[in-house]
């Protein structure tokens, strides 16, 4: 029998990128919040510059609940899904933002209006067969104040390209208008990044530094970035990476309104017969607790958001919470981040002390920034050349057919070339399709006996055509910068388990095709909110975190402002 705890106004399940941000506007409004986090608290002493621990052995995120509930994957209904590899996210106060790359992009205005803009410019027939994509229920301008709020609240460095319509050629000329500059200048560049930017300009493109939730200078009492080279899957040893763990969560705790409970594994969201949420049941050290709450947010990453809803069956919701329209798990997509391009240069790149958020972007072929009239796809990709290298991964480099993979000839090759490769990160528009979805696996369970998520998904023709197109552009860019070898990765097929997972609880005005409304609240459950990229219906061509955080702040603020009418 679960121990019944004293009630609270709000429970947030998961204190990561989204939940950790949402806590602050709720606390500022005077609401009492219990934040349930499956992981523990980590500090900068836990973040050694140690490639074996961070990258080879996946510490610290090997210590986690999600490792025991890795989704199964399959391409289509005809296949049997199996677990492959690990789970890319981690549990902890701050969640995966503790060790993420921290690229903090706004979506492009086009990403909010894929259907209407494609129809207007090219005709409705250009929407790929089988896609379930919809326009967002609002445009970029609705989210702009919340992007702005997060950029300043947690600290984002970058170079603005469009402040209230005033274009700045040093920034992204394609970005939607922003109200003001970033609070900090962009992270510094290296000689190689300068050279890549020059090469892009030679090609007639418009390179610019990308935005990062990393301090480029001291901000809010925390240090600027030290560029030590262990940022990729490493936590920050000087708290310059602006995770909610060092920004919004401590601020919310300082109000006295947020109580953080660690090592808490939520197993069910409870509802009454009227269809309202009453609280959540969780396990801590094998002991079961019931935490009553007047409002519950799920903010546990796309896979667990969907899983927790589907597992929370009740009389009012027989096939899962907020799932009486059978939309939980639908409109799933994983961002097409594969199909990379790797180059070998005849000179050292001096990338040892870089970080993945330190780089040069080209958006000329992203979104609808170029004419698709003669092309066989819609959307585009953000090309990102960045500075990131550590010794084991450097020594593990491919040899471009120029040397064997071991022995004296190999040794000679890596001695010369370990610091001479660069791999581009190309994020591409990915659309939802009816055939791509999440549900509960019929056979595979976690150690508690609960089914894991099953991913049934593959990239379709639009994503593959787009990937090939962007690879051509990237190869051209590398060649212009002097590359002597350029290799392209495969175009992709099955969607695996990913750090960029979207949909499953999509946001939209129509409850027949969306789980949450335009404010992120359930269409079916008045006192349930969903936070994270699971509410996003399109991916854009850039990292989801800032958008998920802007949406989380907006949803939390909406709940706080309308508290009495929502919980009545």
């Amino acid at each position: 029998m679960a121990t019944r705890l004293p009630g609270t106004d709000v429970v947030i399940v998961g204190l990561g990128a989204a939940g950790g941000v949402a806590a602050l506007p709720l606390a500022n409004a005077g609401l009492d919040i219990v934040g349930l986090e499956a992981g523990s608290r980590l500090t900068k002493r836990d973040f050694a510059p140690d490639e074996i621990r961070n990258n080879v052995r996946d510490w610290p995120f090997a210590v986690r609940k999600c490792a025991t509930e890795v989704p199964t994957t399959r391409r289509s209904r005809a296949d049997t899904a199996v677990q492959r590899g690990g789970h890319p996210m981690m549990n902890g106060v701050g969640g995966t933002t503790l060790h993420y790359w921290a690229q903090s992009w706004r979506l492009n205005p086009w990403d909010f209006k894929v259907v209407s803009e494609t129809t207007r410019r090219y005709g409705r027939s250009r929407l790929p067969a089988g896609t379930t994509v919809e326009d967002w229920p609002f445009g970029y301008e609705e989210l702009e104040p919340f992007y702005d709020r997060i950029e300043h609240e947690i600290g984002v460095s970058g170079q603005a390209g469009n402040v209230r319509g005033q274009k700045n050629p040093r920034g992204n000329p394609f970005e939607g208008p922003r109200d003001r500059d970033y609070p900090m200048p962009a992270l510094r560049w290296t000689g190689f990044l300068d050279r890549m930017a020059d090469s892009a300009r030679t090609l007639g493109w418009q390179p610019f530094p990308g935005p990062a939730a990393i301090n480029s200078e001291a901000y809010q009492g925390r240090s600027g970035c030290m560029y030590h080279g262990h940022c990729n899957k490493g936590g920050c040893h000087v708290d310059a990476k602006n995770s909610p763990a060092v920004t919004t969560i401590p601020r919310a705790e300082a109000t006295g309104r947020l109580k953080v409970v660690t090592h808490a594994t939520v197993t069910k969201i409870e509802t009454d017969n009227q269809g309202k949420v009453t609280g959540v049941t969780y396990l801590q050290d094998r002991e079961e607790f019931f935490q009553p709450a007047r409002f519950v947010f799920v903010s546990t990453y796309t896979y667990e958001n969907v899983r927790l809803l589907l597992l929370s069956k009740s009389r009012a919701f027989p096939i899962g919470l907020s799932n009486n329209h059978a939309q939980v798990g639908k409109h799933y997509l994983s961002h097409h981040q594969g199909a990379g391009v790797t180059a070998l240069f005849p000179y050292d790149l001096h990338a040892w002390y870089g970080l993945p958020a330190q780089g040069v972007a080209v958006d000329d072929f992203a979104d609808d920034n170029f004419d698709h009239g003669g092309l066989d796809f819609i959307g585009g990709g953000n090309m990102w050349a960045y500075s990131d290298r550590r010794p084991i991964s450097a020594a593990s480099m491919g040899t471009f057919g120029r040397a064997p993979s071991w022995g004296s000839a190999w040794k000679s090759f890596i001695r010369e070339n370990a610091d001479r490769t660069n791999s581009a990160y190309i994020q591409k528009t990915t659309l939802p399709y009816a055939a791509n979805y999440l549900d509960l696996d019929p056979t595979v369970t976690d150690p508690l006996g609960f089914p894991v998520i099953r991913i049934t998904a593959e990239y379709k023709d639009n994503e593959l055509a787009l990937a090939a197109y962007l690879q051509d552009k990237m190869a051209r860019w590398y060649r212009e910068a002097g590359a002597i070898e350029v290799l392209r990765g495969g175009l992709g097929g099955q969607m695996g388990v990913t750090t960029h997972a979207y949909g499953g609880t999509r946001m939209g005005d129509d409850p027949e095709t969306n789980v949450v409304n335009r404010y992120g609240l359930s269409h079916e459950v008045p006192n349930l909110g969903v936070l994270g990229a699971s509410v996003m219906g399109t991916s854009g061509a850039r990292n989801p975190t800032l958008t998920a955080q802007a949406l989380a702040w907006r949803t939390a603020e909406h709940v706080a402002k309308n508290w009495s009418s929502i919980v009545e």
Binding site: P60, M226, W406, K411
Partner: protein, 248 residues
């Protein structure tokens, strides 16, 4: 953190080693030094670099690998990253010490893959080349390794579970970890791996001036482990999450 603490100096190594000299050798073998970042002295030369006939205190004390397994693995590592005109290789780096220590901890899930794989490897050498790997001439050692790498050594006769290529891939990745990883884990002794690829070393702060010096070729390598200073917890996980099913 509640994870078990790594054995910085193995108790078993201390017990097995011959007195204080053995303890010092064991400490050296796992790359842990009481003093931060000192230039290696000849006396601190890694045990594996000493002649095979050296007295007991200089021998590496393996904790997980048997003497035969360690000998074979050293011979394989010596082919993968040999000592040559570009300097020391995987054996001098202590890559096999790294693997041995890891098999008792983070890589314990790979222990059976090593036991079975090394035995299969030796059986393949005997059946296809008529001798143990260490006894083969260089050219035959290379050809055996190519067979194992490409999967050509796979077969019921040798007993490789699945493809021999998977075993090769596992060994190669661990030899790379042991040669180029932080010396805290027992490999990359005297920073030979980092010097080989001209990695300028662990630094906790890289100012614009240091980056400029690096790009000008004027930055001296910083020979230190991440754990030489007391900035960081030494917590480790007991099991790696990505190291399962090797050899399948």
């Amino acid at each position: 953190m509640t994870d078990e603490q790594p054995r910085t100096i193995s108790r078993r190594a201390l017990l097995r080693g011959a007195g204080a000299a053995g303890a010092a050798a064991a400490a050296s073998a796992v790359g842990v030094s009481a003093e931060p970042a000192v230039a290696p002295s000849p006396a601190a030369a890694p045990p594996a670099m000493q002649p095979a006939g050296a007295t007991a205190p200089g021998r590496v004390v393996y904790e997980q690998l048997s003497a035969d397994e360690a000998d074979l693995l050293e011979a394989i590592a010596d082919q993968l990253i040999p000592e040559d005109e570009h300097g020391p290789g995987a054996v001098a780096a202590g890559a096999v010490v790294y693997i041995d220590r890891a098999l008792g901890g983070a890589l314990s899930g790979s222990r059976e893959a090593y036991r079975g794989g090394l035995a299969a490897f030796e059986r393949y050498c005997r059946s296809s080349r008529g001798a143990r790997f260490r006894e083969l001439p260089h050219v035959d050692q290379v050809s055996v390794l190519i067979d194992v790498e490409t999967g050509a050594a796979t077969g019921a006769r040798t007993g490789f579970a699945g493809s021999s290529g998977a075993f090769f891939g596992m060994v190669r990745s661990h030899v790379l970890q042991g040669t180029f990883g932080d010396p805290y884990y027992g490999g990359n002794q005297n920073f030979v791996g980092w010097d080989l690829i001209k990695y300028p070393g662990v630094r906790t702060a890289v100012s614009p001036g240091l980056q400029t010096a690096l790009e000008a070729g004027e930055l001296e390598p910083n020979h230190r482990s991440a754990y030489d200073a007391d900035n960081f917890e030494k917590a480790v996980v007991s099991r790696a999450t990505k190291e399962t099913h090797h050899g399948d």
